[in-house]
């Protein structure tokens, strides 16, 4: 009678966009292991969400914020999947990248001005041929642009990572995962601010390095 297939309730509830407080199993999130065991354990799916945007908010550069993503990027390039750096603030340094296990043949850097950086990132994400796209976008990037990146990551099934100043932590964001890297007591801490599919919002701080 009705030509339109009606999804079963179970299928509807299985949708990653629907959170069920009472569910004993967490919604399925496909993820790229971060390579940091303690961090993986805190993230739904056990890593950087695939086909989604993640934000890494850092208080200062040099706290190990880039180290956080290196194991995942290294394993992507070792699988011959491309990783793109968009508008990095300094020179990505080959000796350290190689030491982290990155196959440099699959790492690309795009030097783009403020107006072109978001466009380039969106193109790379949407193309479907990049494993991860890492962007250092203008600080004042708006919600709409972030939303575009989130959609591009979804359609290209890529892992989108952007680095931003921690002062934007209070700003609303469509990112699936938001992580804050900060320093106190002479140690670096990682804090999960928001994570799609995570039931408890009060994830404890992780101490990454002394």
């Amino acid at each position: 009678m009705n030509a339109i297939a009606t999804p079963s309730l179970a299928q509807v509830l299985d949708h990653p966009g629907i959170w069920r407080r009472s569910a004993d199993r967490q919604p399925r999130v496909r993820a790229l292991p971060t390579g940091w065991t303690s961090l993986d354990a805190k993230l739904p799916g056990g890593g950087w969400p695939q086909g989604a945007l993640s934000e890494i908010l850092f208080e200062h550069q040099g706290l190990g914020e880039l180290d956080l993503v290196m194991p995942a990027l290294a394993s992507l390039t070792q699988e011959h999947r491309r990783v793109i750096f968009i508008a990095p603030p300094h020179l990505p340094y080959a000796p350290a990248l190689a030491a982290a296990g990155v196959d440099l043949r699959f790492l690309h850097e795009i030097q783009a001005g403020a107006s072109e950086a978001a466009w380039s990132m969106e193109q790379c994400l949407r193309s479907g041929c990049c494993g991860a796209v890492v962007g250092w976008l203008p600080a004042d990037i708006d919600y709409r642009s972030l939303r575009r990146l989130q959609l591009a990551a979804e359609s290209g099934d890529a892992c989108a990572l952007i680095f931003r100043d921690a002062s934007y932590a209070a700003q609303n964001s469509p990112a699936a995962l938001r992580i804050k890297v900060s320093n106190s007591d002479e140690a670096t801490y990682v804090d999960v601010l928001k994570s799609r599919g995570l039931l408890t919002t009060t994830a404890p701080l992780l101490r990454m390095r002394a």
């Binding site: 208080e59 200062h60 550069q61 040099g62 706290l63 190990g64 914020e65 880039l66 180290d67 290196m70 491309r82 990095p88 603030p89 300094h90 020179l91 990505p92 340094y93 080959a94 000796p95 350290a96 990248l97 190689a98 030491a99 982290a100 196959d103 440099l104 043949r105 790492l107 690309h108 850097e109 795009i110 030097q111 783009a112 072109e116 466009w119 380039s120 193109q123 790379c124 949407r126 193309s127 479907g128 041929c129 990049c130 359609s155 290209g156 099934d157 890529a158 320093n183 106190s184 002479e186 140690a187 670096t188």
Partner: protein, 468 residues
């Protein structure tokens, strides 16, 4: 054998007016004659009374707005060769018929193209798209195909007796015999070819000569027609000379489109691609401008080649107006269409890396896309550079920061803690860029890990990288 003949009545016009399409009444001039005579008027000029063989002065008197251009036989030959290249995709045996037709053997390809109606439709669509007026006919005999193409567009007649019957019904004027022969036969009272066919052979030879008889034999397929097979050339070079001078990129797009399309045709013929080609613009004074268009992988599609060339051209500032545009490609490597794994799921728009790379380059410029190469050099600023990473160079055993500052700068605060160091780096005396520095990994008061150095002479801290 089944021969298709493609005739291009407008070819001389297209060749002479290559830089800009003719608009309004126009005509070609015969250069061989001592006087300037009209060789070919277009339809608009003909409507105003301009006729072949008229003097230019007479034609101008009839039609003051007449645009004229000398007939350019070299350009015609080039254009015909270009069309042959395009035809090569339909048949392995393509032959040029000077100066406005192409013959090709399609008997062997008919099944591949699903029969004549589909093949002729493809030919016609392709030629119309390229803007060439044309007529096509096919018979088992090349000469007959050529004759029929003039009057019976789209006709295909595989039956030998049928072709001979149809030939017989042709009026002499359309038989392809030389005009003088036709006149003399008509003077003898002949009207149709069949009347001539019935004449005894010695009699016929006496009247129209060996050559005339030979032509009639070839028409009926009683003698073979020698058709040298055209071979696609291994490189591409084509120039369009402009009438005046063209300034700015916009007016250059029309000739550019023609050249890239012509290149694409040749590529299709060779089953090749092009990875790099050069556009050369000649100026009246001074150096010519060269624009190199390089691609990440061989390409062959006309629209894609045009877009790539266009973005490069639009980003180039011409020092002065251009007089001609040349497209030159030395190497036409084999083209391998992008392959997909049978089981690979298609993701997103399914762009491959080449396409993405080209899209980014087209908007951001070549210089914006970099790869990072590891170099075995002790000097920190030289151990990493933009280039093409190849075989793995082993990274140095010492800890190195992920960020290197483009230029070392003074460290803002005194380090809170020295985490490791010093590591003395002393190198480069051989190329007059020697350094002598003591590197430390330090923690700043904000908790950042920095890579900083002091030179043994100066005791101030210089920041060179971040352990980000």
């Amino acid at each position: 054998m089944f021969w298709a003949c493609l005739r291009f009545p407008g070819l001389a016009f297209s060749a002479a007016f290559a830089a800009a399409p003719e608009a309004g009444p126009s005509a070609l001039l015969d250069q061989q004659a001592r006087q300037r005579l009209i060789a070919l008027p277009n339809a608009e000029a003909a409507a105003q009374g301009v006729r072949r063989g008229q003097s230019l002065a007479a034609a101008r008197a009839l039609c003051p707005a007449l645009a004229v251009r000398p007939r350019d036989r070299d350009a015609e030959a080039g254009l015909l060769a270009e069309l042959a290249a395009w035809c090569y995709q339909f048949s392995g045996h393509v032959s040029l018929v000077p100066s406005q037709a192409i013959l090709m053997e399609v008997g062997a390809s008919l099944r591949l193209f699903d029969g004549w109606p589909k093949l002729v439709a493809q030919l016609k669509d392709g030629l119309s798209e390229q803007g060439h007026a044309h007529t096509i006919a096919a018979t088992p005999f090349p000469a007959a195909s050529w004759v029929f193409a003039a009057s019976a567009d789209g006709m295909a007649l595989p039956d030998v007796d049928g072709v001979r019957r149809m030939l017989g019904a042709l009026p002499l004027a359309r038989s392809g015999l030389p005009a003088s022969t036709v006149t003399s036969l008509q003077a003898m009272g002949f009207r149709r070819l069949e009347e001539v066919f019935h004449l005894p052979r010695p009699e016929l030879t006496r009247r129209i000569g060996r050559q005339g008889v030979g032509w009639l034999d070839r028409l009926r397929g009683e003698a073979p027609t020698a058709l040298p097979a055209w071979q696609p050339p291994a490189s591409f070079r084509q120039t369009i000379e402009f009438d005046g001078e063209l300034d700015g990129s916009q007016p250059l797009l029309f000739p550019l489109r023609r050249l890239t399309r012509s290149l694409a045709n040749q590529l299709a013929a060779r089953d090749g691609g092009v990875q790099r080609f050069t556009l050369t613009l000649e100026h009246a004074r001074g150096e010519s401008t060269r624009i190199v268009v390089a691609m990440a992988a061989p390409q062959r599609e006309a629209e894609r080649l045009f877009e790539l060339a266009r973005t490069r051209l639009e980003r180039t500032t011409l020092p002065e107006p251009a007089r001609s545009l040349e497209l030159h490609a030395d190497e036409l490597p084999a083209f391998r269409p992008p392959m997909r794994d049978l089981f690979e799921p298609i993701k997103g728009d399914g762009l491959d890396w080449t396409t993405l790379d080209e899209r980014l380059r087209a908007r951001l410029g070549d210089a914006a896309l970099k790869q990072i190469e590891l170099v075995a050099d002790h000097r920190p600023e030289r151990a990493s550079r933009y280039g093409t990473p190849t075989a793995k160079v082993p990274p140095p055993p010492q800890r190195r920061p992920l960020w290197l500052l483009r230029r070392p700068e003074p460290l803002r605060h005194e380090p809170a803690v020295l985490l490791s160091g010093p590591e003395r780096i002393e190198s480069g005396w051989w190329d007059e860029d020697d350094i002598r520095r003591d590197y430390y990994i330090v923690r700043t008061p904000q908790g950042q890990r920095a890579w900083a150095y002091r030179s043994p002479e100066a005791q101030s801290w210089m920041l060179h990288g971040w352990f980000a």
